[in-house]
């Protein structure tokens, strides 16, 4: 499937970290959630596939 990317743990951690920082600075949350901690909100957004990030991979891996 196009655009379907499997992230490894480093990429996932980086994405969650970046998103949590945005949320903590007051960025609009993209999903419905009961969470209040930025990092937990970021995790739910990640699981829902709502995050608008792209990971650029320099070396030809999968």
């Amino acid at each position: 499937m196009p655009g379907k990317q499997r992230y490894n743990r480093y990429e996932k951690a980086r994405i969650l970290g970046a998103r949590a920082l945005q949320v903590s600075y007051g960025a609009p949350v993209l999903i419905e959630t009961d969470q209040t901690e930025p990092i937990l909100i970021a995790a739910e957004e990640y699981d829902a596939g709502a995050l608008p990030f792209t990971v650029r991979r320099g070396r030809g891996d999968e």
Binding site: P2, G3, A13, G17, Y46, A48, P52, F53, V55
Partner: protein
């Protein structure tokens, strides 16, 4: 394709999965043993594929650090004693930590050089034929061949060669007189004297009568190698169970040598060059090339750890070390004189040793540091190019389908 008895359909679904050959064979084995359906085979292959993916090293993993720790920890449990006999009877081989350090430092000659010589078929099966090879290998000095007596009154040295020993060590020559002649010739060539040979007795003396010259000649005589390879001081024959290429066990004679000269040894008739080996990685490199040297580094480090009961170190760590040591086409040591010393970054070198000198030299030559490595970035306080620090994250999605959760 596979040796296991499975249907073409099973083979098709398993081949479709992205798994390595040996795991694939394992899947076939299980499918055959339990005579499973195509669907079940597909399920298994899928599960294996998933598990295999999970256990692979991920991109951005700090493999070098993990290897260093995985070898370093068992390394603390190695003996610090230099000597210990190895599995081979009567031959002392450096073991444990000193041997590991020796390998990683890529010493020109190991502390205890040795070779393991396997023999070709007809030599491997009989002790007599194996002995023929031994005499070709082991350095034969004059004291092993006969008695040397010095006659001060006549100003000459007399050697009484032992005919039985001659016959034993030169099995291809029938006449002992002829062998003695050969020996006399070697003496003439290497000492520059004229010899008189009568049967198995060889006599010679200094040109001018001189007590000192006479003793000098005897000294030099003892050093001459009459047969065999100079470096090899001793050879031990052992009968061992060896696995043949056809997966059968058979008994054959294997030679272990104290001292090594791998290139010369391989030239000798009867030596099986495809199986013989040597514990000096530089000799292997010279005779068989860099790939063989890499293989030997892996084998030797693995054996050193195994000998001390530390066989649970994954070979991949050792392979990484061997790759680093050989990937420039020649053997480089790890450490100050090798890989760590040739780093490009000034800051990385300065952090390692003699800080001021490195900084001073770099300043004099106007060196520029591009801050590409790990050490440099730790020093200046930037994220390092490893793990989370090397993910290039961009805002905005390239596709509309959104992300896939793990």
């Amino acid at each position: 394709m596979t040796e296991f008895d499975v249907s073409a359909d099973v083979e098709a679904v398993v081949e479709d999965r992205d798994i390595p050959e040996d795991l694939r064979e394992d899947v076939y084995r299980v499918v055959e043993e339990r005579s499973l359906s195509v669907e079940a085979a597909d399920e298994i292959a899928k599960a294996v594929e998933n598990r295999y993916r999970e256990t692979r090293v991920e991109p951005l993993d700090p493999v070098g650090t993990v290897s260093a720790q995985s070898i370093g920890e068992p390394g603390t449990q190695l003996t610090m004693n230099t000597f210990h006999y190895a599995g081979v009877a009567e031959i002392d081989v450096t073991q444990g930590l000193p041997r590991l350090i020796e390998l990683v430092d890529a010493r020109k000659t190991p502390d205890t050089p040795m070779m393991t010589i396997y023999l070709e078929d007809e030599y491997a099966e009989s002790r007599e034929r194996a002995h023929e090879v031994v005499w070709q290998l082991e350095a034969t000095k004059i004291l092993a061949l006969g008695d040397v007596s010095t006659n001060v009154a006549d100003m000459n040295v007399s050697i009484d060669l032992n005919p039985d020993t001659l016959q034993e060590r030169w099995p291809t020559v029938a006449d002992t007189g002829e062998i003695a002649g050969e020996i006399a010739e070697i003496i003439e060539d290497s000492l520059g004297v004229t010899t008189i040979q009568k049967g198995t007795n060889v006599q010679f003396g200094p040109e001018e009568p001189s007590y000192r010259d006479l003793l000098q000649l005897v000294e030099e005589l003892r050093e001459i190698t009459f047969k065999g390879i100079e470096e090899i001081s001793r050879v031990v024959i052992r009968k061992e169970d060896v696995e043949t290429p056809e997966d059968e066990e058979r008994e054959e004679f294997v030679l272990y040598t104290e001292g090594s000269s791998f290139g010369d040894a391989l030239e000798i008739e009867g030596v099986d060059a495809s199986r013989s080996s040597c514990n000096n990685i530089h000799e292997i490199h010279r005779t068989l090339g860099i790939e063989a040297a890499r293989e030997t580094i892996i084998e030797e480090t693995n054996d050193t750890l195994k000998e001390q009961g530390l066989d649970n170190v994954n070979v991949r760590h050792l392979m990484l070390v061997a790759d680093m040591m050989t990937n420039r086409g020649e053997i480089e040591s790890i450490g100050r004189h090798g890989i760590s010393g040739s780093k490009e970054s000034v800051l990385a070198r300065a952090a390692f040793e003699v800080t001021v000198n490195h900084l001073l030299d770099a300043a004099i030559h106007g060196e520029v540091d591009d801050l590409n490595g790990v050490t440099e970035n730790v020093i200046v306080g930037k994220p390092i190019k490893l793990g989370t620090g090397d993910v290039d994250l961009r805002m905005g999605s390239l596709s509309k389908s959104g992300e896939q959760a793990d």
